[in-house]
């Protein structure tokens, strides 16, 4: 009897936790879906961005680029980034077709070589332009790229927020998991903590100065990423956001790479 008793208790405990876990998973996914829903339908946008890189010694260096994106029905966004500074990479352009699953497609145009090169790589976690942002941090955040779990409610920066955990599906991701603080009012990410493969805190990303465009889409003007393990940081500043400027698929082809100066 005693053993059966324990077994019964254990089974009930296990089942209960499974049910709880199930509801946490549902709730996490629901929050992510709602955030995604609110941010879908902008069609296209353009912006200028500046990255300020800083190392442990406090040495700084900056990068300037322009970015444009277009939404694709049933798949990830397409993005074209043109580099303006440093001067020796001026005119270099990166075109990305992000996909809901599998590797993204990337082409890079090198003006000094006058050639478009496709980069076939599974690496998503390498540094973007030497910054603390990995490519996967900046790529479009498709729902399918993560598994979700609601963790808790928590106030962040005087705003009530959900904390959800998301686990990358891609085995090439550099992260085991991310904790995302999403404000309850507008479903905007306020803060993301990135945990590396051994589950120690690697980086923290803070979103600052949100502004609303077209009366609907929220964009943070500043994204500050700090690497806790190396002491390096990057401040990414977005300027001159323009939505629905009439971009079409033709602006996101290999040929458009060379034209984009």
């Amino acid at each position: 009897m005693r053993i059966e008793g324990w077994l019964l208790a254990a089974t009930i405990a296990f089942a209960t936790s499974a049910v709880l876990a199930e509801s946490d998973v549902d709730k996490g996914l629901a929050i992510a879906q709602e955030a995604d829903r609110r941010d879908t339908g902008f069609h296209d946008f353009r912006a200028e961005l500046t990255m300020l890189l800083r190392n442990r010694q406090g040495e700084e260096s900056s990068r300037v680029m322009r970015s444009q994106s277009i939404e694709v029905d049933g798949d990830g966004d397409r993005t074209l980034i043109v580099f303006d500074e440093p001067r020796d990479v001026q005119g270099t352009a990166l075109l990305t077709y992000s996909h809901k699953s599998g590797d993204d497609d990337q082409w890079l145009y090198l003006p000094a070589l006058k050639r478009v090169k496709r980069i076939a790589s599974s690496n998503k976690s390498g540094p973007f332009m030497g910054s603390e942002f990995a490519y996967e941090d900046l790529a479009s955040q498709e729902i399918e790229k993560y598994g979700y779990r609601y963790v808790r409610d928590e106030e962040f920066d005087n705003q009530p927020a959900f904390v959800i955990e998301r686990d990358p599906v891609d085995e090439n991701s550099g992260y085991r998991r991310q904790l995302v603080w999403i404000d309850k009012a507008e479903y905007r990410p306020l803060k993301i903590e990135f945990y590396d493969r051994k589950d120690s805190l690697l980086k923290t990303l803070l979103f600052k100065s949100y502004r609303q465009y077209l009366g609907r889409y929220w964009r943070a003007e500043e994204m500050f990423m700090e690497n806790h393990q190396t002491g390096k940081s990057t401040l990414l500043t977005w300027k001159t956001y323009e939505f629905q400027v009439g971009l079409s698929d033709a602006d996101f082809t290999k040929n458009s790479l060379k034209r984009a100066k």
Binding site: L53, R54, N55, R56, Q57, E59, E60, S61, F83, P86, D88, V89, T92, L94, Q106, L108, L110, P111, A112, L113, R115, V116, K117, R118, I119, A120, S121, S122, N123, S125, G126, P127, F128, M129, G130, A134, Y135, N172, S173, G174, D196, R197, K198, S200, Q229, T230, K232
Partner: protein
């Protein structure tokens, strides 16, 4: 006055014992605050210029503390499915090592190739078990021809491979190093279990840092008990009294507890050099006890009652024991001149120990002796008889001794220049330590752990993509590759050349530097996009992109060879590159290469100050400028002779030996003090001739001198068994110095005194 004080002291003996026990207990409570330092940087002061240069370089680029797994398949073939699968598994699991930020191996090497206008970037080996022989052979070809891999993560014959884990320690807790190392060791065990066909070796800076406390703890477990047993046996034999032996044991235990406890209160961190402090302190405490107990027991044998015998012993010994304690403490404190903090700690801790031992020897020891039963066995005073015969011999043969000793002194001292500086840090550890053994395997089979690193800046206003700058970097890398003892050179130019080739359809003719500034910069951008997690160009390029890191890996070389190579490299830079590139190399190996020089210079100052202070004290204490100055000879000569002998027998000196002069000067002087104080007293109080004064000195302190010297030689000799070569060398040379000092005091000082040491005012 001293007599009245000691009478009172002895009459309150129970109170004294209780008070001393309480005081030592309070001090000893600090021992729980003790901790071990586990960072090789502990050997460098914050203002050490080589440390500063290296820290600047490490802060500019990614820090490269590491753990290196060396995988050696028993059949000598890395490129086969099972071994590659093991490496692939380890490469994945090693990401779990605490504080790891990057794992590199032949399997996850980012192999780039061209296919039309596609640039393919992939792991060199993926899903090893599914690969066929042809694919494996192709991967092998790539690996052993890849400059980034050969002699770094794969041996040229592909018989051994490495998995290198870059570790970024926050540096906040002492537990970080063992956490990472223990995890790595467990992982290595797992590899051995999964794949019995491979041997696994572990090395790297983190493993070395972890070995410091491990070696220290091993020393504690072997040296402390050994020394303790030796002391007990020795005292039992010498004093023939159970109570005296117990009392000595109690004094040394309390001295150690007090010293280590105070160290804890002060907050010093233990290091391999300071691990030996208890042995040193034990040795010096025994010397104090011997002097007091021998006279006390002699008194009782002459028929004195216990209390008068003890008061008499204290009266006779107080001044010389106090004097020798002070001079010994001064000698140890001269270690504060050392550039290496662990030796400053060693000096200060030993000095504290000496003072505590003195206080215990004149308070606790007599009180405890009086509460314990003392039975005096009537032993024939054959010691004194032999000493008298010995004195006669020295007096008779004084001229022969004087000149033959002088010849021996000159002969030995002339061998001093044979000593060469050598501080090769892996050799700081004994072969018993796994780290030494594994590292030697790695060095002999895969790659070195001695590096020279450069941060090469481009000309003013230029970026590192400047073609002329890149050509200079390439030439510098090529120059280094032509040097003997260079295993590997890591330079950004190899990546540039490979990318240039990839961008031209993998045409080998394009394996050369791009000739335009923009092209290089755009290649770097492209390369960055292809990099995997944990790797960025900051590893090799600074944030401002106007300087690049070049890393040279060396086989084990002596300090002199390393410094000579670095000097030649500087000369090459000066005559072949623009002024911006005329920089010095920096690395932990370079830091250790300079540490011997720096310490010898600083310790020469320290020892000189100590010698001056000690000589001044002797002049005042002996109240004779002439004798005081004469004492400098027997105080100074033994250290010169010992180093000369060392030059003949060993020929290599380094960091640890630079402090021997400081350590020994205060100890060597003790024998001189005891001998001279008796000699002077005989002349002054009894008006004896120099010859008779020598006879008197031998008969009163001769036995005590050789006994204490023997204890000291044994004590420091025990250190020669340390697993830490720094301690072993220091112990051995100190023991040799003390032995030579005894010889000088017995054979050279008396003839010297008889020739030059007549007291003017004696009549």
């Amino acid at each position: 006055m001293a007599e009245r004080f000691f009478d009172r002291l002895l009459s309150y003996r129970w109170w004294v014992i209780a008070a001393v026990l309480l005081a030592i207990g309070v001090m000893g409570a600090g021992a729980r605050l003790l901790s071990f330092s586990n960072d090789y940087r502990m050997f460098f002061s914050a203002d050490n210029p080589q440390l500063q240069a290296f820290e600047t370089l490490q802060n500019t680029y990614t820090k490269n503390d590491n753990i290196l797994f060396v995988i050696a398949p028993k059949d000598g073939r890395v490129f086969k499915a099972s071994t590659l699968a093991t490496i692939e598994w380890l490469t994945k699991e090693a990401w779990q090592i605490p504080y790891s930020i990057r794992v590199d191996s032949v399997t996850n090497f980012q192999y780039t190739s061209a296919e039309g206008d596609d640039l393919l970037v992939r792991d060199l080996v993926k899903d090893a078990e599914t690969l066929d022989a042809e694919q494996i052979a192709a991967a092998r070809e790539v690996a052993i021809n890849e400059p980034l891999l050969v002699n770094r993560l794969i041996s040229p014959s592909a018989h051994v491979a490495g998995v290198n884990v870059t570790i970024q320690l926050p540096g906040e807790h002492l537990t970080e190093v063992p956490e990472a190392s223990d995890f790595a060791r467990e992982l290595a065990d797992e590899v051995r279990q999964r794949d019995p066909d491979v041997d696994v070796y572990l090395t790297g800076m983190v493993i070395m840092n972890d070995a410091f406390p491990k070696a220290s703890k091993q020393d504690m477990q072997t040296l402390y008990p050994l020394m303790f047993v030796l002391v007990i046996v020795f005292m039992g034999f010498m004093l023939r009294s159970v109570s005296a032996t117990i009392t000595t044991a109690a004094v040394i235990v309390m001295t150690i507890v007090g010293t280590m406890g105070l160290t804890g209160w002060i907050g010093l961190r233990l290091s391999p050099p300071t691990t030996i402090v208890p042995v040193i302190v034990m040795t010096l405490a025994v010397a104090d006890c011997v002097h007091i107990l021998i006279i006390f027991l002699q008194g009782m044998r002459r028929g004195l009652a216990r209390i008068p015998a003890m008061v008499e012993s204290l009266r006779i010994n107080l001044t010389p024991v106090f004097l020798t304690s002070v001079t010994t403490a001064i000698g140890f404190m001269s270690l504060n001149f050392s550039d290496a903090p662990p030796f400053r700690d060693l000096g200060n801790m030993s000095a504290m120990g000496v003072i505590i031992a003195f206080v215990l020897a004149v308070t606790f020891l007599p009180c405890l002796m009086l509460v314990l039963p003392v039975r005096v066995a009537q032993v024939p005073a054959d010691g004194q008889v032999r000493m008298a015969a010995f004195a006669e011999f020295v007096i008779r043969r004084r001229n022969l001794l004087l000149w033959s000793m002088a010849a021996l002194i000159i002969a030995l001292i002339s061998q001093l220049p044979r000593n060469q500086l050598n501080d090769v840090f892996v050799e700081y550890f004994d072969e018993q330590i796994d780290f030494r053994h594994d590292t030697e395997f790695a060095i002999n089979n895969l790659t070195g752990i001695y590096l020279i690193e450069y941060s090469l800046p481009a000309a003013e206003g230029k970026k590192i993509s400047d073609p002329e700058f890149l050509r200079h970097v390439e030439a510098f890398a090529d120059w280094y590759r032509r040097q003997a003892d260079v295993l590997h050179v890591n330079a950004i130019t190899d990546i540039m050349k490979r990318l240039n080739k990839n961008m031209h359809g993998d045409d080998p003719n394009w394996y050369r530097l791009p000739d335009a500034n923009d092209l290089s910069a755009q290649y770097l951008l492209l390369y960055e996009f292809s990099l995997p997690f944990g790797l960025d160009l900051n590893n090799q390029i600074n944030v401002a992109r106007d300087a690049t890191r070049l890393t040279v890996t060396l086989r084990t070389t002596s300090t002199e060879e390393l410094l000579a190579l670095e000097r030649r490299a500087k000369e090459w830079l000066q005559s072949n590159t623009p002024a911006s590139m005329h920089v010095d190399g920096a690395s932990s190996a370079i830091m250790f290469a300079h540490i011997g020089h720096r310490n010898i210079r600083s310790m020469l100052e320290g020892s000189t100050v100590a010698l001056a202070l000690i000589s001044a004290i002797l002049v005042i204490a002996l109240r004779s400028i002439r004798i005081g100055l004469l004492s400098i000879i027997p105080n100074l000569v033994p250290i010169g002779m010992a180093f000369g002998l060392w030059g003949l027998l060993v020929g290599q000196v380094g960091l640890a030996l630079s402090v021997v002069a400081g350590v020994t000067i205060g100890i060597v002087v003790d024998d001189t003090v005891h001998f001279l104080s008796k000699y002077v007293r005989a002349q002054r109080e009894q008006g004896l001739s120099p010859e008779d004064a020598v006879r008197y000195a031998f008969s009163t302190v001769g036995t005590a001198l050789w006994v204490t010297s023997a204890v000291l030689v044994v004590g420091f000799g025990v250190l020669a068994l340390s697993t830490f070569e720094l301690n072993a060398g220091m112990g051995l040379l100190t023991a040799i110095t003390i032995a030579i000092a005894l010889v000088a005091d017995f054979f050279f000082l008396p003839p010297l005194l008889m020739k030059f040491g007549g007291m003017r005012h004696a009549h």
